[in-house]
Amino acid sequence: MKRTDVILLLVAVVLIVLPLVLVKAPADGSGFGGADGQAQSLITKIAPGFKPIFRPIWTPPSSEISTLIFSLQAAMGCGFLGYYVGLRVGKRRASEESKEA
């Protein structure tokens, strides 16, 4: 990993953490909700008569289960990315070692 990579990732972390520090979440715990949900409630405000044309076939029974599935999605992606990086780094090392030998 290059030094610039570390700096870029640090800036990314700051960008993620900064809102949590700067923005005061309301005391009722309603802060940092999803933008998708806000859009949904705006729709019901703009078009109070609108009835959704379809309901989700299955909804995660709780926010815990929803978190579980989101984590699973991220874990699957990370698993593959880790596999790729490991494979490439291993290959590179093997070819360097065979050169040295």
Partner: protein, 226 residues
Amino acid sequence: MHIAEGFLPAKQAIGWAVVSAPFVAVGLGRIKKVVAERPEHRMLLGVAAAFTFVLSALKLPSVTGSCSHPTGTGLGGIIFGPLAMAPVGVVVLLFQALLLAHGGITTLGANVFSMAIVGPLVAVGVWRLLRALGVPTSYGVFAAATLGDLATYVTTAFQLAIAFPDPSGGMIVSLVKFLSIFALTQIPLAVTEGLVTVVVFGALARFDAAVLSDLGVSTLAGEATP
């Protein structure tokens, strides 16, 4: 950018699906061609899909006090062409629609259009333009991924404004309202996606320089990160 299940009038839900379908079909053809001609490129295809899986699962806080997620479709667009990301987007959005009630089957066409068609198209457009102007690779990747991410959310705002014009102010007022939810929130997240994409692209350029140049991604050796 996920329009919730059922939250589009039926005609528009079908309309977006009809619009998105040919892009997905051409994208599938593109992926099939890459895999058939160069099976060794499957690995990077997997990386592009995995990157989208990870980024679209991460809901990040923003300065607006709400949360949204990056899309991750710029990276794959730059490497495999914009349309290759359309089928990838279908897989991710179906996963979320079926298992998370996030987005939906009826809104799949609209959501694929914003995240997996407009996003990568804008990203690749920016990328090619900046490359033609001689902008260094990492700056090009950053601008492409950032603007592609932002374009997805602007598209969603347009889709919702068309579907739900304000009763007194019409579509424009609606658009401003939806943009204030989606676009503002997305700006820092888009920058975050841009930064992460630069790092990942840099790694790919180091590990798979031959594959990238074979795919016509013009990077100069050793220039992937400044």
